[in-house]
């Protein structure tokens, strides 16, 4: 009996003779469905059993519910104050605004929670002495890394699923096209994946779990808040004095100095005048790309515009704002703000130019995905065994 167990017979599972004939050099990047599933199931099983995930999901849902209700109420109150638009238009705008705000809320809270899902994944296993257990099996580094990433992402998607009713509520508020809902949900999922990949990468690089958690939060904060701040700080660097054409109101120089003109009750007659002068110009078209990878910018820019002419909701405003920055300042600065044919023509031309620029989000999304991919590759490289170098303070086993 004992011997039977120790030495399995010909029919017994023997990897040497079984389906596995490990090819030499078949290493780091080998990916199989069964290997991926093994790691992902292991991770998810542990997550489900060790954390009080029901409580976490309830808290997450409760918080989102309360904040969504407050946003809903506040937005509708604000739009009810505007009386010069008709009620249908009002409801639509309120709905679109609510939707945008709830999406940003989910994004912000997700950015707070998602790092915790993967940021201790690898160094935590290392210090628990279970990472080497996997590394010495036939699982490839890529399978271990992707399995862990998948498990973290599935957990993040569970949070997104709990948020779904609240996003749905905002959607049903009206004013949001279905395409916008779909795009926004897809991009939220992608952003969570990127955050999980960043956390995984840091957990592979650092020895201590606290270090990787802090670095992951810093990375996410950099994307969300750091990039807009950096953009602001770069503005002075993009400025230079240039001779440009301006249009501004000037007093009509009149030969007949009527005494009535000095009277303060009647303003002097003004006219719009074109002139050339040297002023400081801000070249946001040179630094707009700093904003592009910001998750809020990506989502706002990719979301299809609602029907109608008025695009003043949160997502649309952010979208046109960033595209405006990308265009830079117009060649003719019109400070007259007159509503004449000439200015309308210029405004239409600029809008056409802005549309010709195309979308900003492909650049930002590509940047984010590249960042996540870099962290993933880093993770896989760190999981390679046998190891030549060890990070300071890390144990192998």
């Amino acid at each position: 009996m004992t011997d039977d167990v120790l030495t399995a017979g010909p029919g017994a599972p023997r990897p040497t003779a079984g389906p596995v004939a490990p090819a030499p050099g078949a290493g780091t990047w080998r990916l199989t469905w069964s290997g991926l599933r093994t790691v992902a199931v292991l991770e998810l099983r542990q997550r489900v059993r060790s954390t009080r995930w029901i409580i976490v999901l309830l808290l997450w849902g409760g918080l989102l519910g309360v904040l969504t209700a407050l946003i809903h109420y506040a937005t509708h109150q604000a739009f009810a104050g505007i009386t010069d638009t008709n009620t249908d238009e009002q409801t639509r705008q309120a709905g679109a605004t609510t939707f945008g705000l709830v999406v940003f809320l989910v994004l912000a809270l997700g950015a707070l929670v998602a790092p915790a899902l993967s940021a201790t994944s690898i160094n935590g296993d290392r210090s628990a002495g279970v990472l080497a257990t996997l590394q010495t099996t036939l699982l490839s580094p890529a399978e271990i890394a992707l399995g862990k990433l998948t498990a973290a992402w599935i957990t993040a998607l569970a949070l997104l699923a709990v948020a779904l009713p609240f996003i749905g509520w905002a959607y049903l508020d009206g004013g949001t096209p279905a395409g916008r809902l779909a795009v926004v949900l897809a991009l939220l999922a992608v952003m969570l994946l990127v955050v999980c990949a960043i956390g995984l990468g840091w957990s592979a690089v650092t020895a201590r779990t606290t270090s990787s958690a802090v670095l992951t939060y810093l990375s996410v904060t950099f994307l969300g808040l750091g990039l807009p701040v950096l953009f602001g700080l770069l503005i002075p660097l993009s400025q230079q004095s240039e001779r440009v054409t301006t249009r501004q109101m000037v007093e009509i120089p009149s030969a007949t100095t009527a005494p009535a003109a000095t009277d303060s009750s009647t303003p002097p007659p003004m006219q719009c005048q074109t002139q050339t002068e040297t002023i400081v110009t801000t070249h946001t078209e040179r630094i707009w790309w700093v904003l592009a990878p910001n998750p809020a910018v990506v989502i706002a820019d990719a979301a299809p515009m609602p029907a109608g002419s008025d695009h003043s909701d949160v997502l649309s405003s952010l979208r046109s704002g960033v595209r405006e920055l990308r265009l830079g300042e117009p060649s003719i600065r019109d400070w007259c703000y007159t509503d004449d044919a000439e200015s309308r023509r210029r405004e239409a031309a600029r809008q056409a130019e802005r549309e010709r620029l195309g979308a900003t989000w492909p650049y930002g999304l590509a940047g984010d995905l590249a960042l996540g991919a870099c962290f993933f590759v880093l993770t896989v490289r760190r999981l390679r065994a046998p190891a030549r170098k060890l990070a300071r303070g890390t144990r192998v086993a």
């Binding site: 120790l6 030495t7 599972p13 990897p15 596995v20 490990p22 199931v41 059993r49 590394q135 010495t136």
Partner: protein
Amino acid sequence: MTQTGPPGEVAPGTATSGIVAHGVRRTFGDVVAVDHLDLEAPAGQVTALVGPNGSGKTTLLLVLATLLVPDAGTVRVAGHDPVADPVAVRARTGWMPDVFGTWATLTCREVLATVADAYRLPRPAARSRITDLLTLVHLADLADRPTQVLSRGQQQRLGLARALVHDPDVLLLDEPASGLDPRSRIELRGVVRNLAAAGKAVLVSSHVLAELDEMVDRAVVVNHGRTVSVETLSDAATAPRTWTLRALDQAALLAALAALGIDHGTPDRDGVPVAIRSDAAAAELLTALVRDGVPVVECRPAGGVLEQAYLALTENRR
């Protein structure tokens, strides 16, 4: 057992050539963990790796287990180079680490099933093998309990089962006896001997030298990251070593030894230490003492074979 045939059907040592390591060196920064180690662990034998703390045992095992690249030296595990072809080595090697971490929330059965999946074993065959292994290490009762309720010794036993899941040809056991109760130690000895009898190469590192005496065929003594001696335990019977003699009347014993012209060490409460060439010489001396009417109650080697060799070779501790 449907999947297991009689042990005799296993082709002995076809792909197995055990462990061969020559001139292995591994440093961590300016710390030389392994300086120059030579080691051979042939198939069908149990080889002990003994040495003081910090002598490089665990580092060597990590090299053999495909986790560390050596700075120098040649290594073959089951006929493959762990650096050039780690996958082939992993498929044939079972490694039981010194600190056995475990997925705390998984049950014993799930732990082994996960490892079986990770070795890509077919599911149905793996399932029955896992049941057998759990019986082997006496964890069948606890098979469906989470591993966090296991004691340290039980976790060690699960670690042994885990190393055996894929029926490896080479076993690397790092301190397998630590935390085990006396019964489990004796059972571990039986399991290890059976593995060797089935043609596996088993390498055991341990501090518990008395345990190893009864378990191993060969011992590689390392100190300061170097191989200082390779002992074959069957040789030990013909090697000189210290024996302890104890008699009811110590004075009579000392007088008889003096009469026989045999030198001895300082007598103490335990008895009189005497250097004896071989087992045969010991039997001869004992016969002479009894014939002379000395009331001898005890005649035993002072410490195990390994212990003596070990103490002689590792006097300068790190």
